[in-house]
Amino acid sequence: MTAVVSDQSAGQPAFVPGAPPPASLGADIWRGISRENPVLVQFLGMCPTMAVTNTLANGIAMGVATMFVLVGSGLLVSLFAKYIAHEVRITSYILIIATFVTLADLILAATFPDISKALGPFMPLIVANCLLLGRAEAFAAKVGPARAVADGVGMGLGFTLSLSLLSAIRELLGRGSLLGHDLLGPRFEPWVFMVMPPGGFLTLGIALLGLAGIIELRRRRAEGAS
């Protein structure tokens, strides 16, 4: 633990095993949406990102379900972390995550059966989304419940927004509609390619390219200003 202290006293925000630096709840939420966006920056949860972003409704549903699991598991992991022995922590975290995934699956099937049917096997597969175990182990287990929930909300929002962006592009070009409402009219020939898996990779690649361009522009502007 001495290494952690010396790193922080040196003012270097290096990645170290230990608690994340203190921050306000607002900053915890904003970080997940922006600087540490799970999909566009951390590249976590790529499987659902590719699989269910073929329509906007599916993308939003997967994002909200993942956010529910992030918040629920983050809260429980944060509350119980100090009672869970180091040796069985992964088992316990996965159990907590799997429980919330099952709850999300059941609640979705009871409330929105059509979306539940469309997401099919990808709902239970949220258990295997590395975003969840990653946040439980790296963040929720090391902070209080309020910060764990804020992080879950932020990461969940970041995940939902990224999936919404990708799925909106894919649905608009691949089906000519958004949320099932026909927008481009009968004369538009849908790019079927976009709703199939290769379209997912292409859209993600273009989104990452755009993001990298924005980051590079801002860096140059900052350099020019200084």
Binding site: V88, S92, L95, L106, I107, A110, P113
Partner: protein, 223 residues
């Protein structure tokens, strides 16, 4: 082998004292029990809604494929014969059912049955409405499919394809590139030929399987 290996992990990463085995067991047992309790509780709360949705979907499908019947009877297939009484012991989800629809005057409109066979990728489940006496189709509805989005899944949404089936007589044949002619031809969907043929095959097999059963029911069971 080397000194580093013999010393194992750095001191900072090793827990200061190891946890006794009974504590690990108690932790996992408690976590498992809590998880089980939560899942079962929510399952019990959501089950009625899930069953209601399934029943509603079935009802809407029967209503659609039999063209708005006033009422219908449900027949169960047990031991290769149809019966009006639901089998008590068997798992209800696996019992094949036929829905016999009648108009307001009591005339039989037709029979709706469900059938599932592999499509392009996975099982395609249809509800098929037909007249068992002549083999004439009334309509069909896709209950479940996982065909290619944008191509094969047109069997579910393409109204020009779905609309052809009413009045056609099974066994059907699929034709490509031109309109199907009565009594038994239907045009397959461009880009979804395999999925369209799967629909035709499912209908043909289902009608061939159910017509003798329903004939036998008309002769004996319905009395």
């Amino acid at each position: 082998m080397t000194a580093a290996h013999q010393h194992g992990a750095p001191a900072a990463l090793t827990p200061s004292k190891s946890t006794p085995a009974w504590r690990l067991l108690v932790t996992l047992a408690l976590a498992g029990a809590m998880s089980g309790w939560l899942v079962v509780s929510v399952y019990k709360v959501t089950l009625p809604a899930v069953q209601k949705h399934a029943a509603e979907q079935m009802r809407a499908a029967v209503y659609e494929v039999l063209k708005a019947p006033a009422r219908w009877d449900t027949l169960y297939l047990v031991n290769d014969a149809l019966t009006r009484t639901a089998p008590a012991t068997a798992d209800m989800a696996t019992v094949p059912m036929a829905f016999v629809g009648f108009d307001a005057a009591g005339n039989r409109l037709g029979v709706a049955i469900t059938a599932a066979e592999p499509g392009f990728q996975e099982l395609v489940t249809l509800m098929i409405g037909f007249d068992p006496a002549s083999g004439t189709l009334i309509g069909f509805k896709v209950l479940d499919e996982k065909e290619t989005p944008g191509l094969g899944d047109k069997i579910e949404r393409d109204t020009a394809f779905g609309g052809q089936f009413a009045g056609r007589v099974a066994p059907l044949t699929g034709v490509k590139g031109r309109a199907g002619t009565p009594p038994s031809e239907v045009q397959t969907i461009t880009g979804a030929t395999i999925s369209s043929r799967a629909v035709i095959r499912i209908i043909n097999n289902a009608v061939a399987r159910w017509r003798p059963l329903l004939d036998a029911w008309d002769r004996e069971g319905a009395k």
